[in-house]
């Protein structure tokens, strides 16, 4: 028996199409000579950069250095934001204590804090983690608080009348009920962590994607800048994909608007 050919799925093909359109436009304006290579390098030039970087192993070193910084910095911000946000959501006193401070710091530009981080922490890796931490923690803690606050009161009431104590309420109801929202918060803030990467690698680094982008700026090496940007985007895409998979795995019960 023949298996029927899979029907063409438009929704699944759309991401590929959007990338294809951009790639085509890129080819047309560069190979067509519409824009000089100083402004937009050709795909060939960027690919050559990538291949030579892969060959001598430097590219992986840069990718790994950046990924590590982003992950460690973000991990510590999640580690602190999770209990912090949960407590804020459930305790008025705790919120009153911390909210104004968090709202204040949240608006400080992280770039402007870099000199202070160097002064306090030196120029080692810790300083780089701290920049990422500063960039994400204050946002994440408020997001966690918000997600946890929006847990349906009915679940809490049901659990309390079934005999759950305070700790069980957190563990058995608040945490699982807010897990889908928390995973979304994580996904968003990891994205932001990557945007702080360049800031983190601004000072005293010798490796990392942010570092090579900054270095290339000095030499107007647009092809290297493009390579760095593309790689950051790809790693971001991969992280996003992995977290979405994780969400499906951890909260299979959760149906989102637009899910099929």
């Amino acid at each position: 028996m023949k298996t029927a050919a899979k029907p063409f799925n438009l929704t699944r093909s759309l991401p590929a199409i959007s990338f294809l359109v951009i790639a085509t436009a890129w080819c047309v304006i560069t190979y067509g000579g519409l824009v000089g290579p100083l402004f937009v390098p050709s795909p060939t030039a960027v690919l050559e950069k990538i291949f030579s970087g892969l060959k001598d192993g430097s590219l992986l070193t840069h990718c790994w250095a950046s990924t590590r910084r982003v992950m460690i910095g973000w991990f510590f911000s999640a580690l602190a934001a999770l209990p912090g946000g949960m407590l804020m959501a459930r305790s008025k006193k705790f919120t009153a204590l911390l909210q104004p401070l968090i709202e204040f710091v949240r608006y400080l530009p992280v770039v402007a804090l870099v000199p202070l981080t160097i002064l306090y922490l030196g120029i080692g890796e810790t300083q780089k983690y701290m920049v990422i931490w500063l960039g994400t923690f204050f946002q994440l803690v408020l997001m966690v608080c918000d997600t946890v606050s929006s847990v349906d009161r009915n679940y809490l009431n049901a659990a309390r009348t079934l005999g759950a104590d305070r700790w069980q309420l957190y563990k058995e109801v608040i945490f699982p009920a807010s897990l889908p929202g928390l995973l979304d918060d994580f996904r968003l803030t990891i994205g932001w962590a990557w945007t702080y990467l360049v800031v983190a690698e601004m000072v005293a680094s010798s490796e990392g994607l942010g570092y090579i982008i900054l270095k290339s700026q000095r030499f107007l090496a647009t092809d290297t800048i493009f390579m760095g940007l593309i790689l950051i985007g790809l790693i971001g895409l991969l992280t996003d994909f992995l977290l979405r998979m994780l969400t499906r795995l951890l909260v299979p019960w959760y149906k989102r608007l637009g899910d099929t």
Binding site: N157, A158, A159, R160
Partner: protein, 254 residues
């Protein structure tokens, strides 16, 4: 024996538009094994009253005791079934029903057995491993009832549990609840604004007035014969229904 004693209970909500007297000086008792139904118009304070008994809401005045113990907060001695659906969507039917037992530290094996018993008591055998999202409204409410019963509460507090169901499913659920509460010998305090439902299920009916909710009258129900859909047209049924309607309606005109 008195299971539940409510004495001079009042509830005032503080709202941005001033204070609102929702429940005013309500007193009544529920005996062990009784099925007391509270009827009243929408907004008369039924949910407020039940939530105070459940310990989910502070009472402003008065005393509420369960088996002689003053109520100070929620506890597993008072099982509640809510107006909306409150099953945990991340747990299967079986795990939902086990929830209360788990909270009370009962071991996994006993828990699973007890839960299975109650899952089949409400006729959900084939759906033990289903997530709530995949259940119909009636099935969800059956699961919620099983979850509350499995915890063996001293009294069952039910807030319009069938309010969201269609007429047919409602009747099926009413008969199921009547059977289950008989079989388990439960003491039940049940809220509804459906008079038929009140008469079919209740051994006594407490009629509340419009806001501020007070006790208008407490009526015993004595119907000859079986309490199923055939009872809906018996003269005794109709007479009682008329009396309750008068109590609820007359007031509306005034």
């Amino acid at each position: 024996m008195e299971k539940l004693t409510v004495e001079h209970v009042s509830k005032i909500y503080n709202t941005p538009n001033g204070s609102l007297l929702a429940v005013k000086d309500v007193s009544f008792t529920v005996e062990e094994g009784e099925f007391v139904v509270i009827v009243g118009n929408s907004g008369c304070g039924k949910t407020s009253l039940l939530n105070m008994i459940g310990g989910l809401e502070e009472k402003t005045e008065g005393s509420i005791r369960v088996s002689g113990q003053e109520v100070t907060g929620p506890g597993p001695d008072r099982g509640m079934v809510f107006q909306g659906y409150s099953l945990f969507p991340w747990l299967t039917v079986q795990k939902n029903v086990e929830f209360g037992l788990k909270m009370r530290g009962i071991d996994a094996k006993t828990r699973a057995e007890t839960a299975r018993k109650y899952v089949s008591l409400v006729g959900l055998e084939g759906f033990a491993d289903t997530l709530p999202d995949a259940l119909s409204g009636g099935m969800k409410q059956r699961a919620a009832i099983a979850r509350t019963l499995a915890n063996a509460p001293e009294i069952l507090l039910m807030d319009e549990p069938f309010g969201a169901l269609d007429a047919q499913t409602r009747i099926v659920m009413q008969e199921l609840l009547a059977r289950v509460s008989r079989e388990t010998g439960s003491t039940v305090l049940f809220i509804t604004h459906d008079i038929d439902e009140a008469i079919l299920l209740g051994t006594r009916i407490l009629v509340m007035s419009r806001r501020p909710g007070t006790v208008q009258k407490i009526l015993p129900v004595s119907l000859p014969g079986k309490r199923d859909h055939t009872a809906l047209t018996s003269p005794e049924f109709l007479a009682l229904k008329r009396e309750i309607m008068d109590l609820l309606w007359t007031e509306q005109v005034l």
